[in-house]
Each structure stands twice: as structure tokens, then as C-alpha cells.
Symmetry: C2
Subunit: 152 residues, 2 copies
DNA sequence: TATAGAATTGACGTAAACGTAAAAGGCGCA
DNA sequence: TGCGCCTTTTACGTTTACGTCAATTCTATA
């Protein structure tokens, strides 16, 4: 009574409701996108994913894959999962999604500002650290060669 | 029986042990360095500071101020408090502190590498985000002006 | 059928650096 | 003497995104 072949040799074994669905279990899904099982369950728990079930077994559809891609992109650019969810929740397959796009743009602008500020902070830190490092190197050099040269 | 005048008018009211000690209570210390009381107590709890006590009242010395400056510099460049403590614990006022300096340099090199990696990630994110933003703007533009122009 | 490999839920742990609340003691001042 | 402000200790809470068991069940395959 399995829905998909383990080695996924044949194209489609199930044609329950929709067209060629290409359902995937959690293990394969995780491997495919380089995340852990825990992560996928966590995202579901947070309402970001909604896989079908075969009994208790999760089956991820094409839609889940698209959503996961979005999640991962969002995380990459520094959005929180809450932000991602908020944006995804606005998705409406029947409309123009103008609201969703506007929200995404708004959040993106803010995030871009945050990223730029972060970069500035990091540059500061790098400079500060580099400065300290030369100072330390100096001190070490003085300690290792205390032969000649006056203190002044 | 107070050790310092509240408004710190006179130079030194106490000459208990050391020279002009310039002791400061937690409130003043916090204000002076822009941290909260909680932070100072937390640092003490973690073994990073060691103020004297007048009864139960903390009195911060010149030494504590120097240490706090170091802590804040360390945090600024991204060291953890553990790192900072590890480095400070090696301080020996009687020696050359070569070990301390070497450890600091070692940790600094690693931290510098981390910072540079972070900057690279942020730059990536900025680029990715900027790209998405233009795409979204495009979509919004198409939605707002659907008058003429073919779909292709 | 035995066994290994997936998968499930539940629940506590982690990391960092504090925030915040509570209850109480001490001090200067009017 | 009462008030307000400063300070103290204790201890739980916060945030985010999972990690890490643990106990159990299902499934496929040899």
C-alpha cells in the first residue's frame, strides 16, 4: 500500500487526486534541500509547510517544495520565519497578490537597511580588531627582541 | 560613613589602602560606560569584574574600569564573554604577558576570519535581496499598468 | 519472521546576554 | 519620621531555530 517507490524508479505510482503529484517523504525532502528532518517538522509546526499525510507519514508536494525554497531564500537574506510566514500567508492563487508583493517589498527594504547597517558594524569591528592586532604584534615584537634600542 | 560624595565634589574622600582610588558605585559606573546595572552584575557573576565591597555595596576601582573597557571593546569586535574572560584571566601584572598576548592574537585572527566570512555572507544576502526586490518591483509595475503592451 | 531503516510525537536542552520582577535593606533630606 | 532613590540578591523569562534524546510504530526486504 505504498504511495511511492523507494528508489523512485517509475515516474508516478499514485494518481489519487491531482495530476502527476510526485509526492516525497520527509527523508528525501530533507536530503533534496539540505535540511534536517527536525527542520521540516519545525517549519510545519510553525505553519510554514503543510504536507499531506498518508496515515501519519508526511508527504510533501510540489507546493511544499516551492514554499520550502522560499523559506530558505528568506532565511538566507535574513528574514525571520515569522516574516516569511507573514508574507507567504498573503499568497492567493486566484488574485494578483499585490498586497503580498507590497508587503514583501516593504519588508525587503527594511531588511536591506538592516543588512547594510550590519555590514557597517562588521567593517567597524574589522578595523578595530585589525588595529588591536597590530598593537599586540608590536608588543610581542618588543618582548622578543629586548636587546638594543632605548625605551623611547 | 559614606566612602564617596554623591556629587563627587571633592577629589578623594577615602584613602583606605591604595592611593587616590576614586571608587564608584554601580549606578555611576553604569552611566559612565553606557551599560545597565544588570550588565555590571552579570559581568561580575561571570568573573569578568571584581569590584570591592563596602558592606554589600559594590565599589568599582580604576582597575574595574580598565577591565570594563576591555570587555566592551571585545564585545564590539565580536568576542564572546568567555573569550574575553579567557584572555583577561591570563593577565599577570608582574610578567611580560607574552602568553596573554599570543592568545589574544590567536583569537583575534580567528575572529577576524569569522568577521570576514560574515561580511561575505551579508554581501551575498544584500545582492540576493536586491535582485528579488527588482523582480518584485517589476511584478508590481506590470500589475499597475496592464493597459497596453503584449504579454511577450 | 527477524531485523534494519524510516518515521512519528513529545519534550527538554542549547546558545548569549542580559531583562524584569520581587522583596528587602540603607541613606540622605525635609 | 516618612519619602524617594539607590542598591542588593534571587530567580525566572526572553529570543530564535532548531538539536538531541526517548519511546514507539511502521514498513520493506532478505
Amino acid at each position: 500500500m505504498k504511495l511511492i517507490s523507494a528508489g523512485e524508479t517509475a515516474a508516478n505510482t499514485n494518481m489519487s487526486v491531482e495530476a502527476g503529484e510526485d509526492l516525497v517523504r520527509i527523508g528525501e525532502m530533507a536530503k533534496k534541500y539540505g535540511v534536517t528532518l527536525r527542520t521540516l517538522r519545525f517549519y510545519e509546526d510553525k505553519g510554514l509547510l503543510n504536507p499531506q499525510r498518508d496515515g501519519s507519514t508526511r508527504l510533501y508536494t510540489r507546493r511544499d517544495k516551492a514554499r520550502l525554497k522560499l523559506i530558505l531564500l528568506g532565511r538566507k537574506v535574513g528574514f525571520s520565519l515569522r516574516d516569511v510566514k507573514q508574507m507567504m500567508d498573503l499568497y492567493d492563487p486566484t488574485g494578483s497578490n499585490t498586497k503580498q508583493l507590497r508587503l514583501a517589498l516593504d519588508k525587503s527594504e527594511k531588511q536591506l537597511a538592516r543588512l547594510q547597517k550590519q555590514r557597517a558594524l562588521i567593517d567597524d569591528a574589522i578595523n578595530e580588531l585589525s588595529g588591536s592586532m597590530s598593537a599586540v604584534r608590536q608588543m610581542l615584537a618588543e618582548r622578543s627582541v629586548p636587546q638594543a634600542s632605548a625605551a623611547s
